[in-house]
């Protein structure tokens, strides 16, 4: 099996995070054009009221903002990993915020079910991932406690 150096692996994750950040920014920039294409009469999600249309726009931008915040948090977490400070309260706090970002993205996407059933599934998936990240946070929190106790045992 191909073995990747630990530092290289972290560097790859950092690069991927930056690429995704740029991708989300580009997608958010072009959101009005593809949303109007989808929401116009005859479009895939056509036939929505002006209120629903405004709601879709706000929801999409809220999801984009949450994704960008989540990616920025991931970047900060990766920097901690690179410095060997994974099992610290700061890392736990970052993971907690990431899980909240994912849970909020899930809730917002589920609220878009009225215009597409696909949003329900994607939202449920985001919610599940958010919950998983939260459990990982709980595990790391316990590890931080154990590490601190071990470090302070003389």
């Amino acid at each position: 099996m191909l073995k990747i150096n630990r530092n290289l692996s972290v560097a790859i994750s950092i690069v991927m995070t930056v690429i995704m950040f740029v991708g989300v920014v580009i997608l958010a920039f072009y959101a009005p054009s593809y949303l109007s294409f989808l929401l116009d009469e005859g479009g895939a999600l056509g036939g929505v009221t002006p209120f629903q249309r405004a709601f879709v726009y706000i929801a999409v931008y809220a999801v984009a903002a949450l994704m960008l915040s989540g990616l920025a948090l991931l970047f900060a977490l990766l920097l901690l990993v690179r410095r060997g400070k994974v099992f610290t309260p700061a890392a736990v706090e970052l993971i907690r915020y990431i899980s909240w970002c994912l849970i909020l993205i899930g809730v917002i996407l589920i609220s878009l079910t009225f215009c597409s059933v696909a949003a329900l599934f994607v939202g449920a998936a985001a919610l599940f991932v958010g919950l998983t990240v939260r459990v990982v946070k709980n595990v790391i929190e316990a590890a931080v406690f154990l590490k601190e106790e071990n470090d302070l045992t003389v």
């Binding site: 106790e149 302070l152 045992t153 003389v154």
Partner: protein, 68 residues
Amino acid sequence: MIIVNLDVMMAKRKISLGELSDKVGITLANLSILKNNKAKAVRFSTLDAICRALDCDVSDIIEYRKER
């Protein structure tokens, strides 16, 4: 609460943290944690080595004080 009186005992024996660290065989950083009451646990082997180095009893180093 548990109070560590290592600094008092060290002053009585006129021994520095560095010297004690050499005699006991634990790092200066760990000894400092113990001296500053930051330790969460102490191994019996550490207590044994400190008592031997300072020629004292465990109660000279560690003391229990009721919290008010």
